[in-house]
């Protein structure tokens, strides 16, 4: 995807810590007003990339452009960015107001203007009653709001979030997630958001970049990432419970493994004529059809239930398919028991096929 006048552009960025290559030849264009999520497990380089964009780490090679300016060597404060940290990083000895205005004072913004901007940020984030308190007297959610406010008052082009919700409890996290989305709709700033939580990524992002070992494995909308994972890693990483994988062979448009033949009817191959060879098929637990709809499914089978995990909203069923334990996600109200027979169906159009050797999507 080519973006004209990107808000943030990262051009063949490298970063080495000694002999360790943390970021490798990274390219990324982020559009004006886009909410981009950098997603990956710990150590994948997502926070490192964010720190590079912020100017807190010096890249070994490559360039970073923000709003058409090359800022690779600019000071963090000169880049037009604001950053929100996981631990909030509020200055403990200053009041909320002091925290909000610290950056503006450093930039020698006139007093009247500071007052105006602090008042506006406090109104947007609904922290007006807290302005004279110290961070120690705030709850986690309030602290994170102040931290966002600190970026807000500086009128920055790009917001950077480094796992901002990870220190909050589950309920508050969900609330703030919604608030963050609302804030983005209201402000329309470019936002780059680092997280290891795929729910946050899927719900917030316009586009997600999934990272592994300092490289971007896939960049796309949440829909693309979920439905068309470009490689095995992404397919396995996204989705909970995770995808079922079967290794086998592709033979004239049919996936074959011991005891299972799956004609890939309706599957959108990347190349119209996929070569035969060793492939891995990925099937999401929620894409296995059960109940009345089985009759209309292109592929049908009967399995014996090994184990049932009722979770309230859904029921996770484990069964043997082609000699492998397979996860099937059923409705929460499905009354199934261990040892019962279960009729299942599947639409190959919803599967993902990967070349076993290269791990790339076919």
């Amino acid at each position: 995807m080519n973006i004209e006048n990107p808000s943030v552009a990262i051009k063949s960025l490298d970063l080495n810590f000694g002999a360790v290559k943390v970021l490798q030849d990274l390219n990324l264009d982020i559009a004006e007003g886009e909410f981009l999520v950098l997603l990956g497990s710990s150590g994948c380089g997502k926070s490192t990339l964010l720190n590079c964009i912020a100017g807190l780490l010096e890249p070994t090679d490559g360039q970073i452009w923000i709003k058409g300016n090359n800022v690779t060597w600019a000071e963090p404060s000169e880049r037009g960015i604001g950053m929100v940290f996981q631990s909030y990083a509020l200055y403990p000895q200053m009041t909320v107001k002091g925290n909000l205005s610290f950056g503006l004072k450093n930039a020698r913004v006139p007093k009247v203007e500071i007052e105006k901007r602090v008042a506006r940020a406090a109104e947007i984030l609904q922290i007006e009653p807290l302005l004279d308190r110290k961070p120690g007297a705030l709850s986690g959610g309030q602290r994170q709001r102040v931290a966002i406010g600190r970026a807000l008052v500086r009128d920055v082009d790009v917001f950077l979030f480094d796992e901002p919700l990870s220190n909050l409890d589950a309920k508050l996290r969900a609330d703030l997630r919604v608030e963050l989305k609302r804030l983005h709709n209201q402000l329309q700033n470019t936002m780059i958001y680092v997280t290891h939580d795929q729910v946050e990524a899927m719900t917030l992002a316009d586009r997600i970049a999934i990272m592994k070992g300092g490289k971007i494995m896939q960049l796309g909308t949440p829909d693309e990432i979920y439905n068309q994972p470009q490689n095995l890693y992404v397919a396995d990483f996204i989705g909970s419970p995770s995808m079922n994988f079967f290794e086998g062979r592709l033979d004239a448009g049919t996936f074959k493994t011991d005891g299972l033949d799956l004609p890939m009817v309706g599957y959108a191959f990347a190349q119209p004529k996929a070569a035969d060879g060793n492939v891995t098929i990925g099937i999401r637990p929620e894409h296995i059809i059960t109940g009345e709809l089985v009759a209309s499914a292109p592929v049908q089978a009967n399995v014996t239930i090994d184990l049932v995990e009722p979770m309230g909203s859904d029921t996770l069923v484990y069964a043997q398919i082609a000699g492998k334990t397979c996860r099937i996600r059923m409705d929460g109200q499905a009354r199934v028991k261990q040892g019962e027979n279960l009729a299942i169906g599947f639409d190959p159009a919803r599967a993902s096929l990967f070349d076993t050797a290269s791990e790339a999507r076919l």
């Binding site: 100017g55 000071e75 963090p76 960015i81 940290f85 200055y91 000895q93 950056g103």
Partner: protein, 324 residues
């Protein structure tokens, strides 16, 4: 039914009472008592002796309280006792020590705190090596450095003399004349500052390392530079460790004898050196009461510091404990 409940409640309630004279308590308090005696008895002897006149001391009752309390020895120790040609007591040494102490403490802590801050949050290429070298400095015996420092102070003074006088003479003006660092209070202040550097830097570095890095990053994004982050973010959070550093330096420098005797001269001897000269003087009779008073006077400053800051000291030591 009601009766039985009443009955149950009328018995003894609350936790099981503890015996005050349990075996554990006797051992703990006995040990504590023994050790406090061990330390307090000499102090007691010193205090009572310093309040006795010489005739009473000659009676030899070391532990008996003074029959006739006299403050004469204290006055003599402070303002009349002779060391060499000077007969103005310890007061001269006291003021010398103050003049050494104040600038040494301020200078060493000011430099070490910036060192520690830079080494924890502004790591540069080779900063770890630099830190290691600095720490090794704490393990080298002072004795090996004594004479090299004498030379450095002397040559440094000569260099200053040259640089301050020569250019002025070229244009026909008169310079300030000979500048001496060796033997002056300035020289000793420099020595104390340098020797305090390894341990103080370690102390400050460990403390600043414990301050979250994200706080520092946030300040940088807010446009604060090296000094602004130091003064406005780090310093307000570093009070406990400053207290520890001040206590370490005040007591260390006040109690110093070796550097004092080597790098100063009789007029500028610190109090400890002067105390030694009073106590160890071989002329005339040994005035035990004056010696005791002089020793107590010299020890007063660290004693007051410890008493005044005990709690803060413990808290700060815990905060600056070796980490990362």
């Amino acid at each position: 039914m009601a009766d039985t409940t009443m009955h149950a409640l009328s018995g003894p309630t609350g936790p099981k009472p503890k015996k005050r004279l349990s075996r554990g308590n006797i051992i703990v308090y006995g040990t504590l008592l023994m050790f406090s005696m061990y330390y307090l008895l000499p102090l007691y002897v010193m205090i009572v002796t310093s309040l006795k006149g010489m005739p009473e001391i000659r009676l030899g009752n070391v532990f008996s309280p003074p029959l006739e309390v006299t403050y004469e020895p204290w006055v003599k120790a402070w303002s009349e006792a002779c060391t060499g040609i000077n007969c103005d007591g310890l007061s001269r040494g006291f003021w010398n020590s103050v003049q050494i102490l104040v600038p040494s403490v301020i200078l060493s802590i000011a430099i070490a705190s910036v060192n520690g801050y830079a080494l924890s949050h502004w790591k540069f290429k080779g900063s770890e090596t630099f830190f290691t070298i600095l720490i090794i400095g704490a393990f080298i015996p002072y004795q090996t450095m004594l004479y090299p420092i004498v030379i450095m102070l002397r040559e440094g003074g000569d260099f200053l003399t040259w640089i301050l006088n020569e250019p002025l003479e070229w244009v026909g003006l008169e310079g300030p004349g000979r500048v001496r660092i060796m033997g002056s209070l300035t020289g000793l202040v420099l020595v104390h500052t340098v020797f305090g550097m390894p341990i103080l830097t370690l102390l400050f570095r460990n403390y600043f390392t414990s301050i979250p890095e994200e706080l520092f990053k946030a300040a940088r994004i807010d446009g604060a530079g090296f000094w602004r982050i130091f003064f406005q973010i780090m310093l307000p959070m570093a009070l406990p460790i400053f207290v520890v550093a001040i206590i370490l330096q005040v007591t260390g420098i006040w109690n110093d004898f070796l550097f004092g005797v080597i790098y100063t001269k009789p007029e500028t001897y610190p109090m400890t050196v002067q105390l030694n000269n009073i106590v160890n003087s071989v002329q005339g009779i040994k005035e035990y009461n004056v010696n005791m008073a002089a020793t107590l006077l010299t020890g007063l400053v660290p004693l007051i510091i410890y008493f005044a800051s005990g709690k803060l000291f413990v808290r700060g030591i815990a905060a600056g404990a070796v980490k990362g």
